[in-house]
């Protein structure tokens, strides 16, 4: 049976330190850890990115596959987001265990991309009603040092933004790949920001030791135009409505800061992709 004595002591320390605006690793309550983005690391994928936030590391890959459309949207391509926890990412992951945490992570990353409507799925149709491109976006958690959601969302986004798509020539019922690459039909840079509540304080970008003692978690994604496009409260604590309003305020600022960083790191032409 799990023991919770150490976390209780740790929690007290974290809260006390926060009273003077500090954190165990020296950050302020609203600081992110260092963010690194490396794209194109898997050249067999149509897009890929290795992203780290502090010690947390996630790799994402984008692959195209020809498949069937959904019957209710016969002329649109399909985006499928998956999340896998590589067992070496944390001593707590067991190989092969289906995990609600992985399912939630995949679905939160999915919603951040999907609801912001950055992918023009109508441009992924090959033969209307019959064949479309399936875009697989898979994130692999390689190192878990806290804040998986933001890291995974950023990895998926970076892989998508730097992906290209295969050109297909459609003649009747036949689909032939020309070998050329086309730009991804993508616009926008939705950014997810996660905060943890510990005691009655909010911590941006929680570290693993903060996550071990948190009360609950709040994630919100913003589009470049300031629209909110996904929210997820997590874990078995609660927020007051006032705390949530405050969390959204903080996250809005942080999302702009990170978006700037992404534009810079990915050398995005600000006008072409997701002009803010």
């Amino acid at each position: 049976m799990s023991q919770r004595i150490v976390p209780t002591v740790k929690k007290r320390q974290i809260i006390e330190l926060a009273d003077s605006g500090k954190r165990m690793d020296g950050r302020t309550l609203t600081d992110y850890r260092e963010i690194k983005i490396q794209t194109g690391i898997v050249d067999k994928a149509e897009g890929s990115a290795m992203v780290s936030i502090g010690g947390t590391k996630v790799v994402a890959g984008v692959k195209f596959e020809i498949g069937d459309p959904f019957p209710d949207i016969p002329n649109e391509g399909v985006m499928q987001v998956g999340a896998e926890f590589v067992p070496f990412a944390s001593p707590d992951f067991e190989p092969g265990k289906p995990d609600e945490v992985a399912v939630e992570l995949a679905r939160v990353v999915d919603r951040g991309l999907r609801e912001s409507k950055i992918l023009e799925t109508s441009k992924l149709c090959l033969i209307p009603g019959k064949k479309v491109w399936i875009v697989h976006v898979d994130v692999y958690i390689l190192d878990h040092c806290g804040n998986l959601i933001d890291t995974a969302a950023l990895a998926a986004l970076s892989a998508m933004l730097t992906a290209t798509m295969p050109e297909a020539a459609v003649e009747g019922e036949n689909i032939r790949l020309t070998g050329n690459r086309l730009p991804m039909p993508i616009t926008g840079i939705p950014i997810n920001v996660t905060l943890a509540k510990i005691g009655n304080r909010l911590f941006v970008d929680p570290s693993l030791e903060e996550e071990e003692v948190l009360d609950c978690r709040f994630s919100v994604a913003f589009k470049e135009n300031g629209m909110l496009c996904a929210i997820q409260k997590g874990e078995s604590g609660y927020f007051t409505p006032e705390e949530i309003l405050r969390a959204v305020e903080i996250a809005k600022d942080k999302s702009q800061e990170i978006r700037k960083k992404v534009v810079e790191l990915l050398k995005l032409n600000d006008g072409a992709v997701g002009g803010s």
Binding site: M1, S2, Q3, R4, E100, V101, V103, E104, A106, R107, R111, E115, S116, K117, C216, F218, V220, K223, G226, M227, L228, C229, A230, I231, Q232, K233, G234, E235, S236, G237, Y238, F239, T240, P241, I244, L245, V248, K252
Partner: protein, 246 residues
């Protein structure tokens, strides 16, 4: 398809099912409806119909999952194969797995879990018919099932969703509004603790709309809360009159 093109909100702010923008659907809770559980509840929420059964506190199984300092709470949200438009395979979907998790996390803060170390409390939810807001209806009914099981609670958890339809915020979205709408934002709330235990959002809203939504959600949760309390009262009055008859 044609149906969706017709407007969902009339010029005088009346929705397709006759409700005002901030009006919730008819909600009918029933407590103590199953024979083999420790507590149970049934809810009809518009056309949405859900049964909830609670087992526990009981011995954890397998034992190594037991927690030394509190009860282990699990929720299982499942949809019957015939509850939705298209036949659904009984194998749990990823959506059902995620909803089970957020429903558990919405309910656990209300339970005095520290009173029952080494035990399990299992909340089983079966959606018989789904017409929007099934997670809200599940959480609200599960609160009553937990009360029926005699499990000490900090407060009832009331839950409702706000959507954005044709540019307007509407309370308690039904399926048709959800599919045609621009966003869906469910919240779970313990009124007496001012505690938000679930908050999710799909779609796109402005910061201002978010702030208004939070207000509307609190109002809606209070209405659900009132109906929950009425259901408890009716149930215990029934229980007392049963005792008197005996």
């Amino acid at each position: 398809m044609e149906e969706l093109k017709t407007r969902l909100i009339s010029d005088d702010g009346i929705r397709c099912d006759g409700r005002r923008l901030d009006e919730i659907r008819p909600i009918k809770f029933q407590i103590g409806v199953l024979n083999n559980t420790d507590g149970s509840a049934y809810v009809e929420w518009g056309r949405t119909k859900i049964l909830v059964g609670v087992m526990g506190p009981r011995e954890s199984h397998p034992k190594h999952l037991a927690l030394s300092d509190k009860a282990r709470v699990e929720a299982y949200y499942r949809m019957a194969s015939f509850s939705v438009e298209e036949w659904k395979s009984p194998a749990p979907s990823r959506r059902e797995v995620e909803l089970s998790k957020v429903i558990r996390e919405a309910l656990e803060p209300a339970i005095f879990v520290e009173l029952f170390p080494r035990t399990s409390i299992d909340i089983f939810i079966e959606v018989l018919q789904a017409d929007g807001s099934t997670r809200c209806a599940s959480i609200s009914a599960a609160s009553l099932a937990l009360v029926d099981a005699g499990i000490p609670m900090r407060d009832l958890v009331a839950s409702i969703a706000v959507g954005k339809v044709e540019g307007k915020l509407v309370l308690d979205v039904q399926d048709k509004e959800d599919k045609a709408g621009d966003s869906d934002m469910p919240m779970a709330y313990m009124p007496s603790k001012n505690a938000v235990t679930l908050l999710q959002m799909d779609g796109q809203i402005t910061h201002d709309e978010f702030i208004q939504s939070m207000e509307l959600l609190k109002k809606g949760c209070l209405e659900v809360y009132k109906k929950q309390k009425e259901a408890i009262e009716a149930h215990f009055k029934g229980a007392i009159s049963n005792v008197e008859e005996a």
